[in-house]
Assembly symmetry: C2
Homo-oligomer: 318 residues x 2
């Protein structure tokens, strides 16, 4: 059930010849074969991945792209080697600023001629973060092919585009990467008519919360119902989730099903005792440790990224 | 991938004790065991089933219920015994008017107390139609449990609610059936404020056509693209499907991928050569043999049934 979003057709992977190479501003180019990585120290980390296009279908005016509703977010425990261990073994040079991560998937784009690999860069500090992994396992099993076998970058707390699948090449650079998936896609462009000189890049997961059940337009009987859902933030942890059943007039805190974990969504539940029939406008909002709260309206942008407005569903009690 | 829509939890089925009984206005009550049915003459028929709530999410104002988009329609070849053979072996009495079909699935409703089986009735003439089957096989294999094993009624040309799953009881009656899935659900109620005395019941599949690819808000490159989709009608066969890429100003006919078959959708394709970039409003409309054409606007009703307005998607060519 883990969501999948690719830009290109699935690549052909031959594990016998697959290598992960590190080049660029390093003291020595290195190539790791699959069994090299399997023999290195492994780290396991629960990380929730969310596509930055999740909830795109909720933007008004409508925005082009995959019309995701609530489903482009999933959770797994990832196991692999620390990216920093790989980079240090290559030796990072003084003037290095970024690391480019290239996947094996490639193809054309609608907006320009040529063939492109799916490639993204990360600042050096995030690349050296001990929690940034080159994952080889998902929930204890070798990565499923569709999720990036044999190796997938996992950048905890960042939107999913950073976690490059079918990883095969790392390039340490001193110049900001200018690939189309870095500077054309995955930037917040709030005014299509006036393209920004230096648009804000998409980085960490925005504070958001979602009701999984009941669903919008669902009919319920009077009595007790469990409202359940998730909340997440890529920066300051979620400390409070509140539910309103009167369209935002009054709010009540939920109970947690998950502990507060960095990089993971927190599932929550709330017991709703409905005694009178009618139409209910149910809302949910999350607050993080820095006191940020979800916005009433989404931050509209040309590509429909980062929708995190307070969710509103309508349910009917007969 | 065949869509599933149930009203109640899955029933418990023990094939060793399962029976299909026929009672009511018949000369002799009969019970068929599974192997009895297997030994009777089998008929195979390709039938497309569509939930009458398909496309409900497209209604404005929004309507309560499952927020189906385009996916609540699927096609299969069904094999089983003719319902008429079963009914004739029981002997239908002169005054019989309807047959009630009861599934094994049961449970509560939000709008009234009590436990109800999922049950629907059909007029006698439709019950005696040689194409109305008690299906035992789906694509040549015993019915999957989720699709009604061991036996499912298949009513060709009717919306899916008529094709009762986990069928175990037939009652031939002289009075119109008043079960909640006959008179409360599955009626077109166009004015919630003024409930009709005798609302129009949901019966056959409405004339409709759907674009499967490209998807709404998709971006394409200049060049050739195949637009593909389906068209269906439960009554007069679909004879024409037309595409417009200029928001309905001009229309061009598609090519057929399927022959004209009663009870089956017709898949079609249309080669679109796009030479100039821009935003395209693409529409599709079907015409049936009686000259009916899909409406511009959907026939709004309280439960969101039978949406068949001309589909409109927007695609971007870079």
């Amino acid at each position: 059930m883990f969501y999948i979003r690719n830009h290109f057709p699935y690549p052909v992977v031959d594990i016998r010849t697959w290598e992960l190479s590190i080049e660029g501003c390093v003291n020595r180019r290195i190539k790791f074969q699959y069994h090299d990585l399997l023999q290195m120290p492994q780290v396991s980390l629960p990380v929730t991945l969310e596509c930055v296009g999740n909830k795109r279908a909720l933007f008004h005016p409508k925005v082009r792209g995959e019309q995701w509703e609530l489903g482009a977010i999933s959770h797994a425990v990832w196991t692999g080697v620390r990216l920093m261990d790989l980079l240090y073994s290559a030796g990072i040079q003084m003037h290095a600023r970024e690391v480019i991560f290239e996947g094996m998937d490639k193809g054309g784009r609608t907006d320009r001629p040529g063939v492109f690999s799916y490639a993204r860069s990360l600042p050096l500090d995030q690349s050296l973060n001990p929690h940034t992994l080159v994952a080889l396992y998902m929930y204890g099993k070798p990565l499923p092919f569709r999720h990036g076998y044999p190796a997938r970058l996992i950048v905890p707390g960042w939107f999913g585009m950073a976690s490059v699948k079918w990883l095969h090449r790392l390039v340490v650079t001193e110049e900001p990467f200018q690939g189309p998936f870095q500077v054309v896609d995955y930037v917040y462009n709030r005014n299509p008519l006036v393209p920004s000189e230096s648009p804000e890049p998409v980085t960490t997961i925005r504070l958001d919360s979602t009701i999984a059940r009941p669903t919008d337009q669902e009919a319920l009987a009077k009595g007790d119902h469990w409202v359940v859902g998730t909340a997440i933030s890529g920066e300051d942890p979620v400390v409070l989730v509140e539910i309103s059943t009167d369209n935002g007039t009054t709010w009540l805190p939920v109970s947690w099903l998950d502990p507060q974990e960095p990089y993971s969504w927190r599932r929550w539940c709330w017991k709703w005792t409905v005694t009178s029939s009618g139409t209910y406008d149910v809302k949910v909002r999350a607050t993080d440790a820095a006191g940020h709260i979800q916005p009433e309206r989404a931050d509209w942008n040309e590509k429909g990224y980062g929708y995190n407005a307070i969710q509103h569903i309508r349910v009917y009690v007969d």
